[in-house]
Point group: C2
Chain length 321, copies 2
């Protein structure tokens, strides 16, 4: 397709912000204090959302936009974890029935956390998840809530960027973890509309570096799930960014970098010790780029989005000591 | 003394809120989600302050109120940990020299964390700390910043209550941990001024239950430090509430309850797993009263103040699994 897709705008994101305010937390931007008292960066603490990740924003907004007939038919979605929980929770708050298709490789912690919000769960092999969700949508009339390649979802995730711009007057750099690209699309759109001079950097695990490869090549790349599944960052294993997301990234992102598994785990421990909230490895990826020295600070405050905190207690205990 | 002391008022606390806004975080109120999806209470996440505890509020305000001559002479304080860090950090931000007297029983994590903010540290036996701080004040002209028995400090800590009242429209109960009583005094004063019908409950470790005993007896009680030091909640080992604090508690608090060591440690783990931020045992004491069933919910939302998160990583790892 050669026509450019219409990108999400600041007014779209502002509408989303108003719509989700009663369900989603306005999360704080918290300093990461190193042992010597230095503060190399601040963290947007999305782990504190009721479902433990930023995904609640997009899911809440997508469900808020349904009309009465759609609400009666319910929603369906597919996700490795955090989007699943988000759709289940947002649907429950909105009084809408939800079915979630989960790949059989998803961490059991995230599966159980989805079940508790009352959603119906269907477990399938990773490669079948989209087809299965589409089949359920076709058969039951349920509305598919896509995890990232969707204007409403992007606008919802973009409220993270809106809040950061409001919360940090001297913002210099925003770092955003990337999987399908919903968070980086919306965040970059909001930040660049409000503060064109702020640098927006997308960060990926090296082992799921499809966007970094595509960024260097100048065209969207798709990796195998077998490859992206190697990373410990289980929330960032999507095989490529979405089509709409790629367009946003090209329009609004300044750079794409990758971090190693070792850097991700070190950052996970450092955030829990130095900023005193819980992150899962995926949630530490953006900060890892600064802590490992991959992204150098420029003028102004550096903020990394700590995208989620759904991690097994045993894993957390291991990175702590 | 039979004359009643003048209590801190809502305008005092509102002035403090304006004064500390640039240094202290407006912390979020975060849901504690149990494994079955129930949310028994919400937590005011003071662990996220730059020094990891609410103490930064009172220290920042007390230092902001110094005049130019006092600022030049510097400040001195005594504390087992979180107030020490708070004074050191607030003094550094304000460009004021700080000396902190620390009891030799304080956790080394808290001592190191104080040192990194550039304060001068003096270590003494617990019983000598007030005398030592007063001696330094007398000899150097430094201004003593008391940990709790002080109008400015109470007004600063009261901003926690002000924020809770603003953040939670249907507030029913606020639970506050007690040691010297600074936090409960200010929080209760703010909450009762704004919402007289909201219940304010003070919570102590049973092993440092001087206030619970005094509350039952109708007069302030002092315990031995040997007794209060038995609790794992190392931030709550003060031997009694302050005189001014006792007056606030009598005026504004509805009930005082205690929790066991086992309940404190269970709540610590449950908060980290279910609300995804770090608390030290002292910071879990207020929530423990609800989680253990000691305080039953009434109408409206229940909020417990999670007062701090300065805990050794090894201790945290132990309560997690």
């Amino acid at each position: 397709m050669s026509t450019s897709p219409r990108l999400v705008t600041l007014p779209d994101i502002e509408r989303a912000a108003e719509s989700i305010a009663a369900t989603c937390l306005r999360t704080p931007v918290v300093p990461l204090v190193r042992e010597d008292g230095q503060i190399p960066l601040w963290l947007k603490a999305e782990s504190l959302q009721p479902t433990g990740a930023f995904k609640l924003r997009g899911a809440t907004y997508a469900i808020a936009r349904l009309d009465a007939a759609e609400r009666r038919r319910g929603v369906v979605s597919h996700s490795s974890g955090n989007h699943a929980q988000a759709v289940a929770y947002a649907a429950r708050v909105a009084g809408v029935r939800a079915t979630i298709v989960i790949p059989d490789t998803a961490p059991s912690l995230k599966v159980e956390a989805t079940r508790r919000w009352g959603a119906e769960i269907v477990v399938v092999p990773p490669a079948d998840r989209l087809a299965c969700a589409e089949k359920i949508a076709a058969e039951t009339g349920a509305v598919l809530i896509p995890p990232y390649d969707d204007r409403e979802v992007i606008a919802g995730q973009g409220t993270v960027g809106l809040e950061i711009a409001e919360q940090v007057p001297d913002l210099g750099t925003v770092l955003v973890p990337v999987s399908g690209g919903g968070l980086v699309s919306g965040t970059a759109a909001a930040v660049k509309a409000l503060r064109p001079d702020v640098r927006v950097v997308a960060v990926e695990p090296e082992l799921a570096g499809d966007l970094a490869e595509g960024w260097a090549a100048g065209e969207r790349r798709v990796w195998s799930v077998a490859d992206t599944s190697r990373t410990v960052a289980d929330g960032l294993r999507t095989d490529s960014v979405g089509v709409l997301n790629w367009a946003h990234i090209q329009a609004f992102v300044d750079d794409v970098v990758t971090v190693t598994e070792e850097e991700i785990l070190a950052a996970t421990g450092e955030i829990v010790r130095g900023a005193r909230f819980v992150v899962e490895p995926s949630g530490a990826v953006a900060a890892a780029a600064v802590l490992a020295g991959t992204v150098a600070p420029t003028g102004g405050t550096t903020v990394a989005i700590a995208s989620g905190g759904n991690v097994a207690p045993e894993t957390l205990a291991r990175v702590l000591v």
